[in-house]
């Protein structure tokens, strides 16, 4: 099947097969949406690497094995390095038209696995690395990771202490600083954009990194049916952004003229319920600071204006 990456890649273009099925993820799991859709874009000639974490814990309990294509659990720190080995073997063994894709959570990516990821990007190994970011160590019971945002309550940054004091590493800029072949941010709230980016990644002769915001109802304190909506709101209120990095250029896929209000977005989530008005102001200040930087690289590098990515949900 040849795919024109310029056109939106929609539900009808996805493989009809389900490659992640019968897993034990919590109802409404955003990470499951990210894994399922990416595998449907990539198709059956795919080798999947998933580190210790939610997706391995819910998908690989012998004899209930939820990946219907080839998949393996890596060590927690070893998503990218195992992918590098898979990719090297694909070349060495002459396996044609195959993808090596990894799905690692925020902790496995930004904390324990960042070194191996950095090495893989440095070597330009042909891998697709997808970080499904649910903003804490959810599998072990919601502990703070390097991608837990400011103010968020976790079991190691309790509300009594004001939640997380750290501001969330920007993995997109970190991988872009390597001069990576392709990087993108995405959100399961904008699935069409996410699918397009995975589809783009499959054509890249080098390392691709996609960072997809994937809400966790259990850790975020939301209802299972809210996951997609909340992931969209995160983008709309400016706490997350949709961008790409390719050929050393940044590109902002969605340029909000004004942000949706922060407070309703934060307060509908249990993890932010303790925030005071001034806490929310602080979060807004950091958001604005970040956007000044984002707009700087976007405007410097892209004088032309581009269209927002087509949006599928709501």
């Amino acid at each position: 099947m040849s795919i024109d990456t310029k056109k939106a890649f929609g539900a009808r273009d996805l493989s009809d097969r389900e490659f992640f099925y019968g897993h034990k993820a919590c109802a409404g799991c955003g990470g499951s949406v990210a894994v399922r859709l990416a595998l449907k874009v990539l198709g059956e000639r795919t080798f999947t690497v998933v580190p210790a974490g939610c997706m391995s814990a819910v998908g690989f309990i012998f004899p209930q094995l939820a990946f219907t294509s080839n998949a393996i659990i890596s060590t927690f720190a070893g998503t990218a390095s195992m992918l590098s080995g898979v990719s090297a073997a694909i070349r060495a063994l002459g396996i044609k038209d195959a993808h090596a894709v990894g799905f690692a959570g925020d902790g496995a990516t930004a904390d324990i696995g960042i070194q191996a990821l950095s090495g893989a990007i440095d070597r330009r190994d042909k891998i697709i690395y997808i970080c499904y970011d649910n903003e804490a160590y959810m599998n072990t019971g919601v502990q703070k990771s390097g991608l837990t945002p400011l103010g968020a309550r976790t079991t190691t940054t309790p509300a009594t202490g004001g939640g997380s004091a750290a501001r969330k590493k920007d993995m997109f800029e970190i991988v872009a600083a390597h001069g990576i072949d392709y990087a993108a941010t995405a959100s399961v709230g904008y699935v069409q954009d996410y699918i397009n980016k995975v589809n783009k990644a499959r054509t890249i002769e080098g390392t691709s990194y996609i960072h997809v915001l994937a809400p966790c109802p259990t850790g975020w304190g939301t209802e299972p049916d809210e996951s997609i909506e909340i992931a969209k709101e995160a983008v709309d209120c400016g706490l997350w952004y949709l961008a790409e990095f390719e050929n050393s250029d940044y590109r902002l896929n969605r340029k909000p003229k004004e942000f949706a209000p922060l407070e309703p977005f934060l307060k509908r989530q249990g993890r932010y319920r303790h925030l005071s008005a001034s806490d929310i102001e602080t979060i807004a200040r950091y958001r604005d600071e970040k956007w000044r930087r984002i707009r700087r690289w976007d405007s410097q590098l892209n004088q032309d204006t581009h269209q927002d990515a087509p949006l599928a949900s709501s």
Binding site: E44, R45, F47, V49, S56, A57, G59, F60, I61, F62, L65, A66, F67, T68, S69, N70, A71, I72, I73, S74, T75, A77, G78, A80, S81, M82, L83, S84, G85, V86, S87, A88, A89, I90, R91, A92, L93, I95, A98, Q115, A116, S118, G119, D122, R123, D125
Partner: protein, 394 residues
């Protein structure tokens, strides 16, 4: 017998030559003293086109073994090399590779462990990982290093084994010493070592899920199965040694190698390169009419308990010489040797000689002294003895 070339190379270079002959699909390694020459020579071979492999210059030892695992599970033959701190840094992956039954071959340059920092030879690095489920062989010279890389693949990839193997060379003593080494032809190695074939892999034609979780309902059986494979590897190791002997004319005796042990009253059990010095000592003492001998444990996993007991049946005393101590108890090899005797109705006196830590020289005189101590051993004396301990300091 095939035409072979005789070259003057270091132990590290002999390993690299062995790796080239084994034709790995993927090599992933990270440099660490005293293993570096292996990764450098392999890089040269890739650059000059004499080694066709995907060479991954990884950013850590953890990634080196993790990448080998990723390639191995697609059915690729893989190689990595490390030492000391690097071996410990990849420790998690050691258990992972063996539990996943990935037949990876790894060279380890035996080196001390920090702290204090020290780059010289002892064997505390690999001995601390005996429980990681890998086969462990300790070679005595550069020739054996080359031969065991090639044999290593044959053993590890045997369907009855499917277990990774660590080929241990004493750091500097072997890795950096130049010796004459017979290098077999590529053709003859290709005949001895066919390409790796397995159904135990991720396969586009028959998709698999690997590296899964087993609950308490199954975990024990997976581990028992792995244990059985390591026990069964003893037979495969011996058969491989015999097949190698008929192909290349060199045999190492399988799990153990003995020297003048048949009628020996006093036997020293050794590991690795120190056996060369010990053999010279035995020759000298034999010339004086003393009944001394050696048993070199080539493999520590599987542990050759039966072979050791058989070879030391007539000995009055046995000394275990190891460059290692498990602090707070005794030498780990010593513990293993005693365990082997525990099932016997009669056993020799066994002494533990802890020597060569952090690269301290083990001289001929030291080894003569060990035999002297074995000759005068009595049941009340201290069993664990540090050789050359500077008592004036203590």
């Amino acid at each position: 017998m095939s035409e072979s070339a005789r070259v003057f190379v270091s132990g590290n270079e002999a390993v690299a030559l062995g790796v080239r002959l084994a034709r790995p699909h993927v090599v992933a390694a990270y440099p660490i003293t005293p293993q570096t020459v292996v990764v450098e020579r392999l890089s040269d071979m890739v650059a000059d086109g004499s080694l066709k492999t995907e060479y991954l210059h990884v950013e850590s030892e953890h990634s080196a073994l993790s990448a080998c695992m990723g390639a191995s599970v697609l059915g690729a033959r893989t190689f990595t090399a490390t030492s000391s701190q690097g071996l410990l840094y990849m420790a998690e992956c050691l258990h992972y590779a063996s539990g996943g039954r990935m037949p990876i071959v790894m060279m380890n340059a035996n080196r001390s462990l920090a702290l204090p920092w020290n780059i010289y030879n002892d064997q505390r690095d690999s001995l601390s990982l005996l429980d990681s489920g890998w086969l462990q062989v300790y070679v005595e010279d550069a020739q054996e290093a080359l031969d065991m890389i090639i044999q290593g693949y044959a053993i590890a990839e045997n369907p009855a084994v499917m277990t990774p193997i660590m080929v241990n060379l004493d750091g500097f003593v072997l890795t950096h010493t130049y010796e004459l080494v017979d290098v077999p032809t590529a053709q003859s190695v290709d005949r001895f070592l066919p390409p790796y074939q397995t159904t135990n892999k991720l396969d586009l034609g028959a998709p698999k899920n690997m590296g899964f979780t087993a609950t308490p309902a199954d975990y024990t059986e997976f581990k028992y199965q792995q244990h059985r494979a390591l026990l069964d590897s003893a037979r495969v190791i011996e058969q491989t040694d015999e097949a190698y002997a008929s192909a290349f004319g060199r045999s190492y005796g399988g799990l153990v190698q003995s020297y003048q042990a048949e009628d020996a009253e006093l036997i020293l059990v050794t590991l690795g390169s120190v056996n060369g010095t010990a053999r010279v000592v035995v020759d000298g003492l034999r010339a004086e009419g003393r009944k001394v001998g050696l048993v070199r444990l080539r493999f520590l996993r599987p542990f050759p308990a039966r072979e050791l007991v058989a070879l030391t049946r007539h000995a009055r005393a046995v000394g275990v010489l190891e460059k290692n101590v498990s602090m707070g108890y005794e030498g780990t090899v010593f513990t293993h040797v005693n365990s082997a005797y525990s099932a016997e109705t009669s056993a020799p006196h066994v002494l533990n000689f802890v020597a060569g830590l952090g690269g301290r020289d083990i001289s001929r005189q030291d080894i003569i002294s060990m035999f002297d101590q074995l000759a005068s051993v009595d049941p009340t004396s201290e069993r664990v003895r540090f050789v050359n301990l500077k008592l004036q300091i203590i």
